[in-house]
């Protein structure tokens, strides 16, 4: 078990991470160069997309709340690289990264963030409820831990109907102290359901550091209590996440049940677009930036001779262009018409009494 971290008081957690968790980037032997380059491209798309969100929010193009996936890119992309298109994922309030990693369309995503009719949810969901159901992305949720049993239910469908799909349940360390977290993992374990519980342990539940939320710094230790495998990996490292998820997927598809994976990293950005981060020492956050997954991944690709520095520049430029295109598209799209207010309700035939004011 890793030593207790105290990230709220000092920067010691950086050293603990470096010593106990950090894994050097190293692709599995059977992963092609193209696949490795695609991982970088997807990570960069997420980085550019969510980097643009804050500015758009400040300029009022994006309404309400938005939570960035910046610095977590390695987790969603590494995990989804181990999945088939027919597999499902559930998400969190930080769902842009999951959507892009599962193959979501940037235009529809940005349109949704701007509340436009052309968005994935017709402007009904926004950032916190972005969903790409046709891609197997079962939607983002604004309530911490709430997707846990939904993933279990998807696993129940796979098992009951004998379908080969698995479901990856992304959740944060904050979710691990919700009662439903326990109920869900226990149920999936006792029924041997094909679910991978992937905890993105960014060590902060808004302003509460994980060492003040749980006595044991290791989320994966809890797997013992459910009789399932648990593993902690470097969450800044897409190959580490990929490897753990691939193993868990194999186990799940073979009918051997769920796995709990903890991808440990650190949210060195704010909790959401308007977070002033007054609850922590900015010098510690700055230290964590040395593990920036995009920097590590680009360095790895160049050093492994898989790409040239120029390739990195052009991939970055392509990502920026794709995001710029999505922004232009979203800005130009119309607002949803008032007549769409009741669209998407259950049993709309019973709504005939209600009229748009």
């Amino acid at each position: 078990m890793a030593r207790r971290i105290t990230q709220s008081e000092n920067c010691e957690a950086v050293e603990v991470f470096q010593r106990d968790i950090l894994q050097p980037l190293s692709a599995p032997a059977d992963m092609s160069a193209d696949e490795q380059r695609e991982i970088y491209r997807r990570m960069r798309l997420i980085r550019e997309f969510d980097s643009a969100v804050k500015g758009l929010w400040k300029q009022n193009f994006i309404y309400g709340l938005a939570h960035s996936y910046v610095c977590a890119e390695a987790i969603a992309v590494g995990a989804c690289a181990a999945l088939e298109p027919t597999d499902y994922i559930t998400s969190t309030h930080r769902g842009h990264g999951h959507t892009i990693a599962k193959g979501g369309d940037l235009r529809k995503m940005m349109a949704e963030l701007m509340g436009k009719a052309a968005g994935y949810c017709g402007g009904k969901g926004g950032s916190m409820h972005i969903a790409a159901v046709d891609m197997g992305m079962l939607g983002a949720t604004g309530i911490v831990g709430s997707a846990m049993p939904i993933a279990v239910g998807a696993g129940l469908t796979a098992k009951t109907l004998g379908r080969p799909f698995v479901t990856v349940c992304f959740h944060g360390d904050g979710a691990t102290n919700q009662g439903v977290w326990h109920e869900s993992i226990n149920l999936a374990a006792v029924w041997d359901l094909p679910v991978i519980f992937l905890c993105e342990n960014n060590q902060w539940a808004i302003s509460l550091p994980y060492d003040q939320a749980a006595k044991n710094p290791s989320v994966s230790d809890r797997a013992i209590g459910y009789g399932i495998p648990g593993v902690t990996v470097d969450g800044f490292n897409p190959f580490a996440v990929y490897g753990a998820v691939r193993t868990a997927v194999g186990r799940a598809r073979a009918g051997n049940g769920p796995t709990l994976i903890e991808a440990r990293f650190y949210r060195y950005i704010g909790h959401f677009v308007a977070d002033d981060e007054r609850y922590r020492d900015p010098t510690c956050s700055a230290l964590w930036e040395q593990f920036d997954p995009l920097v590590r991944m680009s360095k790895y690709l160049v050093e492994a001779d898989l790409v040239t520095p120029a390739w990195i520049d052009s991939a970055d430029e392509a990502a920026r262009a794709a995001v710029a295109d999505a922004i232009e598209f979203a800005k130009s799209e119309p607002e949803p018409a008032p007549e769409t207010l009741y669209d998407g309700l259950y049993s709309p035939e019973f709504m005939r009494e209600q009229r748009i004011p």
Partner: protein
Amino acid sequence: MTAMQTPSSSQFDGGRANTEMPPSRVVTVKQAINETLAEEMRRDPTIIILGCDVGIRGNPFGVTKGLYEEFGAGRVLDTPISEAAIVGSALGAAATGLRPIAEILFSDWITIGMDQLVNQIAKIRYMFGGKINVPLVIRAPVGAGGGQAAQHSQSFESWFSHVPGLQVVMPSTPYDVKGLLRTAIRSDDPVLFFEHKRGYEIKGAAPDREYVIPFGKADVVRAGGDVTVVAVSIMRHKALAVAEELGAAGIGCEVIDPLTIYPFDYDTVVASIAKTHRLVVVHESNRRSGIGGEIVSQVVERAFDQLVAPPKIVAGLDVPMPYNRGLEALVIPNEVRIKEAVLKVMGQ
């Protein structure tokens, strides 16, 4: 928990069913639920049942008896005591291809799965732009009258009818239970199906064929020209008893069972009031912010000029259900209180 006793329920019959639909058999509400579950599960292999004690034990009231034996542990799933996971996994299963029927042992404990029900199930289709179907039913026994005290006696129909996205169904005769449960199971949208614990042994005729009853269509159980009595769940039977008694005394009560709390058939109620000009609402759940208040407000908005007397609500008293037999009886609406209310709106 003790076995339910229903000393007064056998006197009730199923209302319209015994006159309308020959050939019929007389069955209990419990049998009606059980048979409908089995028939639907035979028809559709994507239907599963999950909940505490639904399998080998066949549910504490015997409602799911025999289903585990017929359909096996893969389709009748005994769960741990994990209401949030029961409700939430039913959602995940419904969103990905199953038609789950989740059971909560006592409806009071839906509170433990409340986030999944109110924040996820009710909203997931709308907030994802209509791109997801959630064909699930949550069955739960409601109601008081067995000395089960404050945490095993509640009826939450008004809470859930307040939440856009949930359909709330509350029948109390074998005929209605069969038709409405079948509609619930076949609905592509989430349904809360509330069964009264004191109603499981109520007998009535139910046809031997497959039939469905649409949601949002009230049943005019008894015609009458003087007072409209809207009675929810097993209160329908108490209202009928009062109506028979007062009918002999020359007061005509029109008894309406709404059957579904949302959608609610206000058209039938308003049409009745156009004839009777008087309204009494009867429900067992407590009065404060209850469904009775909403029914009265809708009637006042739609038919104020038809009313000749202030409407009356006969409801549970606003206290947690006490254990003591005598105190409990004070809380639950009875025939005496219903009769008083009818006489009051009649100006007597």
